[in-house]
């Protein structure tokens, strides 16, 4: 009896021990683990991963509103409907295997109004262009094309398409609707964007083989640019060189930049560097008794000069360098040779995404006894012509090869036609959105990969802001609102860069696992071992008890 009572008490005691061990384990799991988890957790705000992924596909739709205006006597006979009517043409531009871009040309066909008719009754195409300008849709990206009768004397002989300074063009009718449509489509592409200009804007995503040689020449889209004109005078002992850069900038460069101010902020400055030499020694050519720089040595020219140019410590915008090099007396005259060995007529070359260099030879004095130093006044018109051409080239504004019946009006003193600005905006908007998507995707990947990074609320809000702006920019592109789309894409770039470069992302980055375990083990090991051992014991005993009754039977 006493033995049975003792056994019962023993059993009760053992059950109590079990319960105590189980409650320890339960407290450790229910209270300890969450507490440890909460106190050591890095704060990571939620990010719109799905939206970022969606942006990565770049589902672009670019809509170009085009008004086709028929002058009396120019309406083709085979029109499908009576004027006015609408028509949408779509075209696919494939960038890579995953991405393709749809361009929609929203054409409105209508006949001229009385005012437009009057404006078309002038002698030359230039006058017509000027007179038509106030009658056009002035919003960015919207094009107006006037179809004039085949016999019209507005366009010169042999020219069937005239592109004006603004957003209008004159097209000679003839050849039925199908021929007119191909011509209009060609014209629209010239005045808005082509497959190659879009591919250049998305050059990071296009497979290497498909890009043209010029695609990587353009400057990356940025919120601002710094333009620096540098006069290099390696031989101040023999040449005292003066350039009236202030006047030249205000006269030739500023009008172009005023026009481009919609695209980015520009700042212009200039400097004179003495004793700055090129990195290569030019070859002496006996025949012409001049010095030659061959095309293959040009890549080595820039590096030693670049060290002297000075960094733009005060801003983060990319710098465009234009160097005017006055060769030293012992190396003049100096000419640049192209690949075929012929001298380059402008005596200048450009370097993609960097700037341009022009060699300016000083005329040898009439008498060799003339005392040194020679005083040289640089002919700024000649220099600025070259630099402006290089500037246009670097911004991707160079005019493409066109069929001979196309006539492009020269932009005149403004340096830039309105439709060229549109071209730039189309390309930059697409590039900005692609940049945002790249930035956000790599940020998302980085955050996904490294769990230690803290994501603060303000970083997250910047990411949300960037995604929202990029989406709205795309929506506006699809509606054909180029200006607002560009503004939204700029905001998206700003926010995404701010999120990506936020210093708070780096705070906890260096927290290696071995140190973590070194700190945890002294506490967690002695606490966890008894709990685990007693749990194991309980499990073993329960199993044995389950076996015992079967033994008894």
């Amino acid at each position: 009896m006493a033995a049975a009572a003792a056994a019962a008490a023993d059993e009760a005691e053992r059950a109590r021990g079990r319960r105590a061990a189980l409650s320890f384990a339960a407290i450790a799991v229910v209270l300890g683990l969450p507490l440890w988890w909460r106190t050591t957790e890095t704060y990571r705000a939620a990010l719109p991963y799905a939206d970022i992924d969606g942006l990565g596909q770049l589902p672009f739709q670019l809509a170009v509103p085009v008004a086709v205006v028929f002058a009396p006597g120019a309406v083709p006979g085979d029109l499908p409907k009576a004027l006015p009517f609408r028509d949408v043409q779509e075209m696919e531009i494939s960038v890579n295997l995953r991405t393709s871009i749809t361009s929609r040309y929203e054409m409105i066909y209508r006949s001229t109004t009385a005012q437009e008719e009057a404006a078309l009754h002038v002698a030359t195409a230039q006058e017509a262009d000027a007179a038509l300008r106030p009658l056009q849709d002035a919003s960015l990206g919207a094009l107006t094309m006037y179809v004039v009768p085949e016999t019209s004397s507005l366009l010169p002989q042999g020219i069937s398409v005239y592109v004006g300074k603004h957003r209008g063009a004159l097209v000679r009718a003839g050849g039925g609707l199908a021929a007119l449509r191909t011509r209009l489509r060609q014209l629209t592409q010239v005045m808005s964007f082509t497959a190659s200009s879009i591919a250049a804007a998305l050059s990071d995503r296009v497979p290497d083989g498909q890009l043209g040689p010029d695609a990587r020449r353009h400057l990356k889209s940025s919120l601002g640019y710094e333009i620096t004109f540098s006069l290099l005078n390696p031989d101040p002992k023999s040449h005292v060189v003066d350039w009236d850069i202030e006047d030249a900038v205000s006269r030739y460069v500023q009008p172009v930049l005023d026009k481009l101010s919609l695209v980015a902020n520009f700042s212009v400055d200039s400097q004179i560097l003495y004793y700055a030499v090129l990195g290569v020694t030019p070859r002496f050519d006996k025949e012409s008794s001049s010095f030659l720089l061959s095309a293959h040595s040009l890549p080595h020219v820039i590096n030693p000069v670049e060290a002297r140019l000075g960094s733009s410590a005060a801003s983060l915008y990319p710098v465009l360098n234009f160097l005017l090099y006055v060769p030293e007396r012992s190396h003049s005259p100096l000419y640049i040779q192209d690949k075929d060995g012929a001298p380059v007529s402008t005596n200048a070359f450009h370097s993609p995404r960097w700037g341009g260099i022009m060699v300016y030879n000083v005329e040898a004095p009439a008498s060799p006894q003339a005392s040194l130093p020679l005083h040289v006044d640089v002919d700024m018109v000649r220099v600025m012509e070259v630099f402006l051409a290089q500037l246009r080239l670097l911004f991707g504004l160079s005019r493409e090869e066109l069929p001979p019946e196309f006539l492009l009006e020269s932009p005149g003193s403004e340096g830039l036609a309105d439709w060229e600005l549109d071209r730039l905006l189309w390309a930059h908007t697409v590039e900005n959105i692609a940049t945002v998507s790249t930035t956000l995707t790599s940020l998302a990947q980085l955050l996904d990969k490294i769990g230690n990074i803290v994501i603060k609320d303000d970083v997250a809000s910047e990411v949300y802001q960037a995604v929202a702006s990029a989406q709205s920019a795309m929506a506006r592109l699809a509606k054909g609102h180029l200006h607002s789309a560009f503004q939204a894409s700029k905001e998206a770039v700003t926010s995404s860069e701010r999120a990506f470069f936020d210093p708070s992302l780096l705070h906890l980055l260096y927290f290696p696992d071995d140190q973590k375990f070194a700190i945890y083990i002294p506490l967690f090991l002695p606490m966890a071992v008894p709990i685990l051992l007693s749990l194991a014991k309980i499990v073993r005993e329960t199993r044995q008890r389950k076996k015992e009754p079967t033994k008894m039977d």
Binding site: G17, E246, G310, A313
Partner: protein, 580 residues
């Protein structure tokens, strides 16, 4: 016809290098200058000065076309609204005791002080940005300048150039005593010169010679100055100065003779073609009131006499722009020979007393005392000095222990500005205006307590000690000899950096040695030891508690017990005690 040709020739001759070109007047000018002065102990100090003056309104941001003025600095001044900028990078310490008065002293390490324009709204932000950009330009660790080592002195640093107001809230001053100056700081400094190191005096600036010296200090000063005497318009001045001291005496086998080639391993061949003035000055003033004992070759074309820092001095002048200089030889190698035999040199030179000294005293790692000694060697004039002390927050100063004693009596400062430190936010700033009686020594002491830092705040080598930046002494020292007021544009550069108020006194700014203070340094494995110890204590408590609660207790059947119990019972039986 002949007359016309002659006129043309004259015109051509006038249009020499760097001179105004007919047609458009140059708006900027460069002057370069090298001052060589033998020091009392036989060392030689070489002070280079390059001064670019630009008649343009720089800070509006409207000017963006640079010629001689470096674009990097110009843009900085324009972008951040800088009124005046003074940056000095120094390696070594100017030993006043053996070298005499410095031409332009700077504290060891990096020193930066900047006056901002009144239009700058957030001075602290501009200061932070400025120091970061400068650290990029000069490859120096100026980005370590933050609020813990920046002060705003009220009296010590006045604008050296034109200034409308002197509201000291626009001033920031910081010293990094730990900064090491080397080639990577010299290269960007040389790049700011219009001629680089290709021509002119700058060809002598070879890094391997310059840093093989006892003292090296390079500086950049930007300030607005009057364009002309009427001072209606402002010009901007950039002065780049570089001072080196070569110990030719010890490296030249005990001879005091030196030459340009021996010091720089180069000679001068031409002037910078852009410079409007390029001169070498050699200090040949007679020492110890004796007749001249030294001889310079080649013979100088002219001699310049001036009163510099209260002493009458004579300089031999070599004008690199004068065509006659390079007529006889192609290069200029200035040499100086001492005529007197050696035994004269053994005789000690007149002891030049050190005007300043500073040290830390006390023992243990808890408290200490900073003492500063200021000497006034002027025979009969007393004059006031301003002393600026900047002490990091981790030395907690006790201001009530501040004592100033001159000639055994307490000297009460006529002005005291004290800004206490805030832990981890700003340093102590103590400025005092002290009257120094003639021929006296003044001792200033203040006690401090060493603070404990957080373990992440220690430098990588904490047992090396912590630097306390030099204290600064600014004074208008009365001159023994009356000086004439001279035109700044005409006088040599080495006399014209500090504006002189009148002829009777001259301005000096002296720096003490930086101090090295040991702080209580913990064992850096301590945090981990603490973690381990606490965890062990917790684990032990937890373990026994756990054991107590989960152990099952059996009622033990009484048994006959083991061997020990039986033995005990046998012993108990013998003793007559009941068994266990």
């Amino acid at each position: 016809m002949a007359a016309a040709a002659a006129a043309l020739l004259l015109l051509l001759a006038a249009a020499g290098p760097g001179r105004a070109v007919p047609g458009r007047a140059r708006r900027d000018a460069l002057r370069e200058e090298l001052l060589l002065s033998p020091l009392p102990n036989g060392d030689v100090a070489a002070a280079f000065q390059f001064r670019t003056r630009w008649d343009a309104d720089l800070p509006r941001g409207a000017v963006s076309h640079y010629r001689l003025f470096p674009k990097a600095l110009g843009r900085l001044v324009a972008a951040l609204g800088v009124q005046e900028l003074h940056l000095a990078l120094t390696q070594g310490f100017w030993r006043t005791r053996t070298w005499g008065q410095p031409p332009l002293q700077a504290p060891a390490g990096a020193e930066l002080w900047v006056w901002f324009q009144p239009t700058v709204t957030d001075v602290d932000k501009a200061w932070k940005e400025l120091s970061n950009i400068l650290s990029g330009i000069f490859c120096a660790s100026l980005n370590f300048i933050d609020s813990t080592n920046t002060v705003t002195p009220t009296a010590s640093f006045k604008p050296l150039g034109l200034a409308n107001g002197t509201d000291h809230h626009l001033l920031r001053y910081a010293v990094l005593p730990r900064e090491v100056v080397c080639t990577e700081n010299l290269t960007p400094w040389k790049k700011l010169l219009p001629c680089g190191s290709k021509a002119g005096l700058a060809v002598l600036l070879k890094a391997e010679r310059l840093f093989h010296s006892s003292y090296h200090s390079q500086a950049v000063h930007i300030r607005p100055i009057c364009r002309d005497a009427s001072c209606l318009a402002v010009s901007w001045e950039l002065r780049q100065t570089l001072t080196v001291v070569f110990d030719t005496f010890s490296s030249g086998q005990g001879k005091k003779d030196w030459s340009l080639f021996k010091m720089f391993s180069r000679t001068l061949t031409d002037a910078c073609p852009l410079a409007s003035q390029s001169k070498v000055y050699v200090d040949i003033s007679p020492k110890n009131k004796e007749k001249e004992l030294l001889e310079v070759t080649p013979a100088p074309a002219s001699v310049y006499e001036a009163i510099v820092q209260g002493e009458k001095r004579t300089y031999a002048v070599y004008d690199l722009l004068s065509p006659s200089l390079f007529n006889t030889s192609r290069s200029l190698n200035v040499q100086l020979k001492w005529k007197r035999p050696k035994n004269h040199l053994a005789q000690p030179a007149t002891p030049v007393s050190s005007p300043l000294a500073r040290y830390v005293s006390g023992y243990g790692l808890q408290t200490g005392e900073i003492s500063t000694l200021i000497y006034n060697t002027h025979p009969y004039r007393a004059f006031p000095v301003i002393l600026l002390e900047t002490v990091p927050w981790y030395l907690r100063l006790y201001v009530h222990t501040l004592t100033i004693i001159t000639k055994g009596k307490e000297n009460k400062p006529s002005y005291i500005h004290y800004q206490p430190a805030q832990d981890r936010r700003r340093p102590h700033l103590l400025e005092m205006l002290i009257q120094l009686p003639a021929n006296s020594v003044t001792k200033i002491t203040i006690q401090f307590e060493r603070a404990l830092l957080k373990w992440t705040e220690y430098t990588p080598d904490p047992n090396h000690g912590f630097y306390v930046s030099s204290s600064v002494l600014s004074a208008l020292v009365p001159s023994v000899i009356a000086m004439k007021a001279v035109d700044v544009e005409q006088s040599p550069l080495f006399t014209s950096l500090f504006p002189s108020s009148d002829g009777s006194s001259y301005f000096v700014r002296l720096y003490t040695e930086p101090l090295l203070v040991n702080l209580p340094t913990p064992d850096f494995s301590m945090p981990y030891n603490v973690i381990c110890l606490t965890c062990t204590v917790v684990a032990v408590c937890y373990g026994s508690f756990y054991n107590l609660l989960t152990r099952t207790f059996h009622v033990e059947e009484p048994s006959r017990g083991g061997l020990a119990k039986r033995l005990a019972n046998i012993i108990r039986k013998f003793r007559g005690v009941p068994p266990l």
